[in-house]
């Protein structure tokens, strides 16, 4: 039975929202948090909301986090809703991640890569002990600087490519890439659409699926060929100018997974690759995305499709947390008429079952 709308409760709703606003503010004796403080000091949450909200704007993501009391899925939902109020002017030229200003670049496969292993501002190698010093305010010393800045760094996978040991990137397609915000998903979904869905997909969902491939559910024996994070230039070609202009930088995290592939009758043995590209400093998400991207290429690479992560339809229909929260949370809206009819059905079934049993008893 379809959902039947009910009316009423306006005053209760208004009062609930007033209490929500008061609760959001918390104890008024504690200073109110500012959007700029969230953008500066809760940066990883801002990155996650921008990614899953599919809108790069630090201030808006910080505002959404404040409004949602730090409920990051609610915040992503707010960003998705806001973007529908803005016109789309144009698309960018594909960002040149090889040319990004590197803040972090590591490889788990090549120790002595050109440019070296750049750790950047990482939580790796920390002891995961709570730092009680942070509970009180203190001045933080500036990070040390080397005498020379890092330069541009070629992608690690370009080092193996000339030997043919690693598959090449797909050539640029002639047409426009698919766009989930304009056309609904359809299957079989091509890789461009899959990557768009993964880039805005839920980090927890992709982490669990990526992890499942490591535990044998569609295993591809991955290596983190390269993870890089930094600022990439955004270029557009406005029609009124007719030449590319640089409109600013975005922070991106990119992950290149290198996976085993035994080869086939037509393709000699070589490594295949999975790709992750995510807004902000979001390394876990970029790695999970690359694992799941590679898993979803199983059919294309002639592997058996047996595991959830390899099932394109399953992954893409469930990766979006805004859709998932909408359908899951709608269950708490009034279903009174719906449930009433089911109640009647169950009562009737019990009556029908009880009647013949009563006859038998006689």
């Amino acid at each position: 039975m379809a959902y039947v709308a009910v009316k009423g409760g306006e005053r209760a709703i208004d009062n609930a929202h007033a209490w929500l606003a008061e609760t959001r503010r918390g104890n008024p004796d504690v200073p109110e948090i500012g959007v700029a403080q969230i953008a500066e000091q809760i940066g990883r949450a801002v990155d996650r909301v921008m990614g899953e909200g599919s809108l790069f704007d630090r201030e808006l993501a910080a505002l959404a986090i404040k409004q949602s009391q730090g409920d990051l899925i609610e915040a992503a939902f707010l960003l998705r809703a806001y973007r529908t109020t803005l016109p789309r002017f144009i698309h960018s030229e594909p960002v040149d991640t090889a040319g990004m200003a590197i803040r972090r670049r590591i490889s788990a496969t090549f120790k002595d890569l050109p440019g070296g292993q750049i750790l950047g501002p990482t939580y790796d190698y920390t002891h995961r002990l709570l730092d009680f010093a942070l509970a009180s305010e203190a001045t933080v010393a500036a990070a040390p600087e080397a005498s020379h800045p890092v330069g541009e760094m070629a992608h690690v996978h370009s080092l193996l490519r000339h030997e043919g040991l690693l598959e090449n990137d797909e050539p640029a397609a002639a047409g426009e890439p698919g766009d989930l915000t304009r056309q609904p998903l359809s299957f079989p979904a091509p890789r461009d659409v899959r990557l768009q869905a993964l880039a805005r997909g839920d980090e927890g969902f992709l982490l669990a699926l990526g992890y499942s491939t490591q535990r044998g559910w569609g295993g591809t024996h991955p290596f983190a060929g390269e993870i890089r994070m930094g600022e990439a230039v955004v270029e557009i070609i406005p029609p009124e100018l007719g030449f590319p202009i640089d409109i600013g930088d975005i922070t991106l995290t990119e992950c290149q997974m290198i996976n085993q592939f035994k080869g086939s009758k037509t393709v000699p043995a070589q490594f295949t690759r999975g790709y992750g590209l995510v807004f902000g400093h979001s390394e876990r998400k970029a790695m999970a995305m690359a694992l799941v991207d590679r898993a979803m290429r199983a059919e294309e690479l002639g592997e058996d499709v047996t595991a959830p992560a390899q099932n394109i339809e399953f992954v893409l229909y469930h990766s979006d947390n805004v859709e998932g929260t909408g359908f899951t949370e709608h269950l708490k809206l009034p279903h009174y008429v719906d449930f009433q009819s089911e109640l009647e059905t169950v009562r009737r079934m019990r009556r029908d079952m009880a009647a013949p049993m009563a006859e038998v008893a006689q």
Partner: protein, 158 residues
């Protein structure tokens, strides 16, 4: 966000270079620097400033076919000065004042009689500050470069 990025590559035209600098300047910086180059011509807005979206694209595997990564906010503005010069700006984010001032500076820099004064008073200091930030971040990154010690070397040490 840190304004770190690649320095403008040498293949760019002069106009592309100043537009890149203006895109990374905030409204307050621009307004303060423009104070130092009076008198400015009157101008009117032909379009905007208006905020909208750019769909960002990436490449599969980093160098393959393009895909849509997600959107970003952008603000654009077009102005015309009373001298008849048209300036355009597209800047990341939602700062209408920045976009308007960037469009004005774009128009001013196309005026041969004002170009060098505006370049020196507005663009050069901004470009230098942006370059300093890029280099500072690049040096911080370089300070986190790992130096590996080969085990053989360590064993050789008494």
């Amino acid at each position: 966000m840190d304004a770190a990025a690649d320095p403008p590559s040498p293949g760019l035209t002069e106009r592309q270079r100043w537009m890149a600098v203006l895109a990374r300047a905030n409204a307050a910086e621009l307004a303060a620097l423009l104070e130092t180059v009076p008198p400015l011509p009157a101008y009117r807005r032909l379009r905007g400033p208006e905020s909208g979206l750019v769909m960002l694209r990436g490449r599969t595997g980093g160098a393959g076919a393009a895909f849509n990564l997600g959107e970003m906010t952008v603000t654009r503005c077009t102005v015309r000065t009373d001298d008849g010069l048209t300036g355009h700006a597209y800047v990341a984010g939602r700062d209408a004042r920045q976009a308007e001032l960037a469009a004005l500076v774009d128009a001013l820099l196309q005026d041969a009689t004002r170009h060098s004064a505006v370049q020196q008073a507005v663009i050069n200091p901004l470009a230098e500050a942006q370059q300093r930030r890029r280099e500072r971040d690049g040096r911080k990154a370089a300070a986190t470069r790992v130096d590996f010690f080969a085990l053989a070397t360590m064993r050789a040490t008494p």
